[in-house]
Amino acid sequence: MEILQYTVRKLISGIPLVLGVTLISFLLMVYFGPDKTYELLGKNPTAQEIAEVRTQLGYDQPFLVRYVDYLRELVTLEFGNSDSTGEDVASLLARTIPISLALTGPGFVLGNLLGVLLALFAAFYRSTWVDKAIMASAVVGMSISFLIVIIAFQIIFASSYGLGWFPVRGWSVHSFGDYLSYVAVPTMAMVFVALGYNTRFYRSVLVEEMTRDHVRTARAFGVPPAKLFYKNILKNSMIPIITRVVFSIPLVIISGSLLIESYFGIPGVGKITYDAIISGDQPVLKAVVGLTAILFVLAQLLTDILYRAVDPRISLK
């Protein structure tokens, strides 16, 4: 009951956040975003045709009317059709989001799990060559441009110039085997880059926890290292870890990975979003921004509930 009440309270308190995000983003779209009109015109347009396109796009409506329409669309989840392709936006997202999830999911999970694992090693062997080697590798991963990593991995693992083990690009997935072959190189690229950031973050969290009094006391009492790490360090470090992981989820779901999807020819939501941004496809952008804001509210809620699960001292009141 406590959780239910908290959930309702939290969802209500999330409304101003959603309103704020949608208002600011819609202001940016309308007044600073690309003007779609001139992409939808023929080669030799007349002034009348320009006016007709603007009417079709709703650009001739007052801002307030358009924003209220946006809110209505957000409530009904009926975002209309893409101004670029004409496809129903709900269908578009329903088709692309699962692909992006399937694409980024393994990299996201592996990047975090391996990050925690390497951070544990680095923290346990703090200031030794193991720690230094892991941290040096992390810095390397963070320092190389994602674009370079993608191209290099594509050449090394997929092209005829390299090993040629995996498809260079595409997403013709009809079996689990296909899925593994298409997702392997993107996952390796994502993990390579994410590992650097994750390892550094998690190590600092773990090191801070290791220096606490209760850990030193437990060690003095002769608690075995494995138990010490699991029960006294890892569990107590879970709050920042949960925060980082859960708040990454909305971006993984909605934003996908633009570079990965572009270079590997994967029809996910990241590419759709990017195309919508550069072409000013407002129905798609409105849906993506609005849903991302809602997901952040839900992520915040989930985070609070998980805090309580890992630390019973935390109250949801």
């Binding site: 001139y38 347009p45 320009i50 129903d88 498809p167 270079y263 550069i278 000013g280 849906a287």
Partner: protein
């Protein structure tokens, strides 16, 4: 955009789908689930399918013919839909032939009335839009409806400019509210297979427009059924039917109902010396399409496109990225491949049907028309000086690997009216001459006007600008007076052109049909902004000649007028022009094709065939 998805997923399903997406529901992919062939080009998979995997550098945004405005959309649309006319596969210069039209039109003596009969028995593909889901016969009224759609603002059309003020009653029909039930005097179906078009004045390019994707024939009930999603759900009578479509790929399968029309390779322009290497003679006497499955991948990143092509089993066709030109080519003039590549791939090198150029906006009194005749005379000298300082040779070397074709004026090399003997002075750099011209006309670094150069935000555009600024500096134009104005998107820079906000317009133009009228109209006064005349050039004599030639059939007299107009533009220094790029395409040797997309668009794909690796032959294809 997948055609296999339900027509309109209920909106409330979005959040649920977000949750479902946490599984690997995305594994559905974009292809056909049952009979996706193995990635071994040239061989037959278990299902014995012939598959061709094409690559393009951009994706079309819409597959609705009324929005087939760019080469990518036009390329794809022509495979799903039929047009009345088409271009012969191999004939160069380009030649029209009948396609859905049963024969050439009967044209009245005054050139104003066209009567066109269409082939009987041609059927649209099966679609839920039709009664019982079975495609019905294509009738003349479908063509009438398809052209009407360009004059209905609700369809967001992009091709009306081809027929505006040309067809009796069509503009009035739009002004009256685009009521499809209303008849148009100049656009009628006389019976189920006969179309009558009445023109307001002779329009020699009319048949060219009826070979463009814009004029493709669509069924009214499919447009009504699919609504705006018709743009991702093509229902045509072309050689292929859509299987799936998304941002990375479009997949077609053979239209089993496509009319059997055996290819006469000689009629199509086959020349053994020119085309023999490709093996296209093997399609003679057979009815296209020859492929069971056609996949067109949209790969913007050149490195990915190249890797995919050279992998051998992903895409079978590509252009050569600039960074690989030296690796692949043995010589550039003429284009030949190094042995390692010649052994594996066929290639085609041809001049693009279009060009790149820069034009002054004559509405800017600093460079163009001016109330003061003396200043206007000096402005012309300034434009000519900038033109003399412009180095097409350097631009060609820097950005087009020295493969471009530099030519004077705006009649491009692929136009039949191109004059190879025209003086090249206007495209030959002359720094001393430019300096003298400035000095003789009183231009000094102090009084030269600021020149705002509009460009998109790409790195190459920035580099082209910097090169331009360096050339201007050489003739004494202060560096700070050559100003770059950047635009994030094509829509933004297009708005600046259409609103006449830039004094210097740098752009490219792709020919819609092989007739110099298509480029000469770029400087026709009534086409001024927001029309295609971004230079806002208005010369009464030029306009008179344009109007005179616009009703003339191809003839030496018309060519002479075109060339005179071309010289007027050169003499007025209204534009720095131009360069037509050389297109070099590579394709795998198991693919039988001449994949030249210039003007023809994607029409050639119906003629593509695949060698059976097991027998080394092409026999036993789809038909």
């Amino acid at each position: 955009m997948s055609a296999r998805l339900p027509r309109a997923a209920p909106a409330p399903s979005v959040l649920a789908l977000l949750a479902i997406g946490l599984s690997i529901g995305g594994c559905g992919g974009t292809g056909d689930d049952k009979d996706t062939p193995p990635r071994t080009p040239g061989s037959r998979g278990p299902a014995g399918l012939k598959v061709y995997r094409h690559a393009m550098d951009q994706a079309p945004t819409s597959l609705d013919p009324v929005q087939a405005a760019n080469v990518y959309a036009n390329f794809v649309v022509l495979n799903a839909y039929d047009t009345l006319f088409a271009y012969k596969y191999l004939a160069r210069p380009f030649e029209l032939k009948t396609n859905l039209a049963a024969d050439w039109p009967e044209i009245s003596a005054d050139g104003l009335t066209y009567t066109i009969r269409i082939k009987p028995g041609v059927r649209f593909i099966d679609d839920p839009a039709f009664a019982d889901g079975v495609g019905r016969e294509v009738v003349a009224e479908d063509f009438v409806y398809s052209i009407k759609r360009h004059f209905d603002p609700k369809t967001r059309p992009q091709g009306a400019w081809l027929w505006i003020n040309r067809i009796v009653g069509l503009d009035e029909w739009k002004a009256a509210g685009s009521d499809y039930a209303a008849e148009i005097a100049g656009l009628r179906a006389l019976d189920t297979h006969t179309i009558r078009i009445q023109l307001t004045k002779p329009y020699p390019q009319l048949l060219f427009t009826l070979a463009m994707g814009f004029s493709a024939v669509v069924p009214r009930e499919a447009v009504a059924y699919h609504g705006r999603e018709f743009a991702v759900h093509p229902v045509g009578s072309g050689p292929f039917r859509l299987t799936s479509y998304d941002t990375s790929q479009v997949v077609f399968e053979r239209n089993p109902r496509f009319r059997p029309e055996p290819v006469d390779i000689a009629f199509e322009g086959y020349d053994e010396a020119q085309h023999g290497f490709s093996g296209v003679a093997a399609i003679d006497g057979r009815s296209p399409p020859f492929l069971d499955r056609l996949e067109i991948s949209f790969i913007a990143e050149s490195s990915a496109r190249w890797s995919s092509f050279t992998k051998g089993d992903e895409v079978q066709y590509t252009s050569i990225p600039n960074e690989h030109v030296d690796e692949v080519l043995a010589t550039k003039q003429p284009v030949t491949l190094k042995p390692a590549f010649a052994e594996k791939y066929h290639f085609f090198a041809g001049v693009e049907a279009g060009f790149i150029f820069n034009a002054f906006n004559m509405d800017f009194p600093e460079f163009g028309y001016n109330d003061d005749p003396e200043r206007e005379r000096r402005n012309k000298a300034l434009r000519c000086a900038i033109n003399k300082a412009y180095s097409w040779e350097q631009r060609n070397e820097s950005f087009y690997m020295g493969l471009g074709n530099i030519f004077p004026g705006i009649i491009v090399p692929v136009s039949p009216e191109f004059d190879p003997g025209l003086s090249r002075d206007s495209v030959t750099r002359d720094v001393a001459g430019a300096r003298k011209l400035l000095a003789d006309n009183g231009w000094t670094p102090e009084n030269l006007p600021p020149l705002v150069y509009g460009a998109n935000s790409s790195v190459s555009s920035r580099l082209i600008f910097e090169q331009f600024r360096a050339w201007m500096k050489e003739i004494g134009y202060p560096r700070e007076k050559i100003i770059l104005k950047r635009f994030a998107t094509f829509g933004d820079i297009s708005r600046a052109w259409k609103q006449s906000q830039l004094p210097y317009v740098s752009k490219g133009w792709g020919l819609d049909f092989p007739d110099a009228e298509n480029t000469l109209q770029l400087f026709y006064g009534p086409n001024s902004s927001p029309g295609s005349n971004d230079a806002n050039y208005r010369d009464p004599e030029y306009d008179r000649l344009y109007e005179l030639s616009s009703t003339m059939l191809p003839s030496p007299e018309r060519t002479a007028i075109y060339q005179r107009m071309n010289r007027m533009l050169i003499d007025d220094c209204v534009a720095n022009t131009g360069l037509a790029r050389t297109r070099i395409y590579l394709w795998h040797k198991n693919v039988i094709a001449i994949p030249d997309r210039e003007i023809i668009g994607g029409f050639f794909l119906r003629y593509v065939d695949i060698v059976d690796a097991s027998t080394g032959t092409v026999k036993g294809g789809a038909r």
